[in-house]
């Protein structure tokens, strides 16, 4: 029973979110915030894989998000809509309903391949130098998109709204809410599975002592490659969802600012803590929305909160620990820490 309670809770949340969006119980503004929470959870937990679990400092996460966003948008718009760029649609717009998740996965795959741009230098360099490489990749991606006029360049790219409309004509469901949270749960599940396997724990060993990890049999190159690709792939899927929620993307959405937001969420929640990443993504998104009436002063208050947090809790809300470690009573509901081994 306890083993499944997390899945049951997630299921209840999912049904509520989708149900309320469908019946109109949630305003479209609340729906948008809820979907952004999902996107931010994907961004922070996937970045946590590299920055928290593996202990590298990647600060170009938005670059991978951009790759995913553009790849999925280009494909859906090309296939399912009539437009000036690609001409008539190749497939009936209704088919988008079925193909959308696969296109998202494909966007993630391409983002993962771009992740190799960071993974391969990481064999030979780490720390500050690797951080600069990640920053460079972020800029390369952004500048590349800006300079390809065929996909809108700096003006941005749109048409995804019509793709989503096409899906809604098949069945009038809040499709983006559904797919966002499906992929959020998928992200959490995959990261959880990865870091609780002997295979994935190799990246924690790399953080703790890379030379010892290599000498004791961890293929550190492969482990880094897998971790970077998984992380950037998930960010790419987050980007694909982001693009289809907004219906419009431009390179300016994927600058170092966006990467910094992801970094802030990781460090706010605590490195190497999956529940911390989820918690901080929820808090961060909500705080930004709640403080919106402050307008410009928001950007004084939010960093101030961060500075105070880092002064009093340097390890973040849940540094290297999960919620169940901080509140052991939760374990009665969610099962023991080593849930997977108990289950075997």
């Amino acid at each position: 029973m306890t083993k499944h309670s997390l899945a049951i809770l997630a299921g209840i949340f999912f049904v509520l979110a989708v149900g309320l969006s469908w019946t109109g119980g949630l305003s479209s503004y609340s729906q948008l915030v809820l979907m952004f929470i999902g996107i931010n959870i994907m961004m922070s937990s996937s970045l946590n894989l590299v920055n928290g679990y593996m202990g590298e400092f990647s600060c170009g996460h938005a670059g991978f998000m951009a790759v995913g966003a553009y790849v999925t948008s280009l494909i859906t718009v090309w296939f399912f809509t009539k437009g000036s760029v690609f001409g008539p649609n190749l497939l009936p717009p209704a088919w988008a309903t079925v193909f959308f998740p696969f296109i998202l996965l494909f966007g993630g795959l391409i983002a993962a391949l771009v992740g190799l741009l960071v993974a391969i230098p990481s064999f030979r360099t780490r720390g500050d130098y690797l951080a600069i490489i990640t920053l460079a990749v972020n800029y390369i991606v952004k500048s590349a998109i800006e300079n390809i006029q065929a996909i809108g360049g700096a003006r941005g790219f749109m048409g995804m709204g019509r793709v989503v409309n096409g899906m809604q004509e098949v069945a009038d469901l809040p499709w983006m809410m559904i797919w966002t949270w499906v992929f959020v749960f998928l992200t959490i599940l995959l990261i959880k599975r990865f870091v609780s396997s002997t295979y994935g724990k190799g990246i924690i060993a790399i953080r703790e002592d890379e030379i010892a990890a290599e000498i004791l049999g961890v293929n550190t190159r492969r482990a880094k490659m897998v971790a970077f690709m998984l992380s950037s792939g998930l960010a790419g899927m987050a980007g694909g969802l982001f693009a289809h929620i907004l219906g419009y993307i431009n390179p300016g959405s994927f600058t170092i600012m966006k990467s910094t937001e992801a970094l802030v969420m990781v460090y706010l929640g605590g490195m190497g803590s999956l529940s911390g990443s989820v918690l901080s993504a929820v808090l961060f998104t909500l705080i930004l929305e709640i403080l919106r009436p402050l307008q410009l002063y928001k950007w004084v208050v939010v960093p101030l909160i961060l500075i105070l947090l880092m002064l009093f809790r340097t390890e973040g809300l849940l540094g290297h620990r999960e919620l169940t470690d901080v509140f052991p009573r939760l374990r009665r509901i969610f099962g023991p820490r080593e849930e997977i081994h108990a289950a075997l």
Binding site: A205, D209, G217, V226, H341, L344
Partner: protein, 255 residues
């Protein structure tokens, strides 16, 4: 065929000759000591064997197969495990996880197995978990399984490090100053442990050690290194009386 051979191992750090024409052969089952003053090149030899450095000249072979050009994790998979001079456990991981991760050298599942938790994955994880707990039990560390490695006292951390090396089921175990920083009682326990391990797991052990009590007590044969060159080898008694060894350790006597 000898179990393990080092043939003419030579290594330069820039212009500095760290190891010079070092030779060694294990037939299997030996317990060999490697001693020498600080900076003599002992740990460098271990690092060369493990693949951390690649030797300038010379070759290392295990079971007749050369280790040249292999990554350290590949050397490990060939059956060489080691511990470190300054303990290198993964401090923020539990003792059990420290042992588990050392199973990576022969993992028979991949990324997709992990993501889908296939039956192959589950069987492998079950086996790894059982083996890790077995090793902890054999070394009487089972009470600390869920403890973070950094929270253990020094002597126990050493023991966990040895346990971590043992799960690799090495043919050759390299111990780099295992008694460093231990008190008298812990050293006695260590000597007992090394003897017992050797018999229990049929190990060949190669030991770097500063502590003469430990070396003289344990090793059947000792090699002495000074400035990267082997200056003497023999039984503990022969070594103790060797004038070149005394000179290397204590300096030359004035006339």
């Amino acid at each position: 065929m000898p179990l393990f051979e080092v043939d003419g191992l030579t290594h330069f750090f820039g212009g500095l000759k760290a190891v010079s024409n070092f030779n060694l052969t294990f037939e299997g089952g030996e317990l060999m000591g490697l001693i020498g003053p600080n900076g003599a090149g002992k740990t460098t030899i271990f690092n060369l064997v493990c693949g951390v450095y690649h030797p300038t000249r010379g070759e290392v072979k295990i079971g007749g197969q050369t280790l040249a050009g292999l990554f350290p994790h590949q050397v490990t998979a060939m059956g060489i495990a080691r511990t470190f001079q300054n303990i290198r456990l993964w401090p923020e991981m539990t003792v059990l996880d420290n042992i588990r991760v050392a199973h990576n050298y022969k993992l028979n599942y991949g990324f997709l197995d992990t993501m889908f938790q296939t039956s192959r994955y589950r069987a492998a994880e079950r086996r790894i978990d059982r083996q890790a707990r077995d090793v902890l039990e054999i070394l009487k560390l089972e009470d600390y399984a869920e403890e973070l490695a950094k929270n253990l006292p020094y002597g126990l951390q050493r023991k966990v490090e040895i346990a971590r090396a043992l799960v690799i089921r090495p043919k050759l175990l390299l111990l780099d100053e295992p008694s460093a920083g231990m008190n008298l009682g812990e050293k006695e326990a260590l000597i007992g442990l090394i003897r017992w391990m050797r018999k229990e797991f049929n190990l060949t052990i190669w030991l770097i050690e500063h502590e003469m009590r430990v070396v003289m007590n344990l090793c059947e044969k000792i090699q002495v290194l000074d400035f990267g060159e082997m200056i003497a080898q023999g039984t503990p008694e022969e070594i103790q009386g060797n004038p070149r060894v005394i000179e290397a350790y204590l300096g030359k006597e004035m006339d």
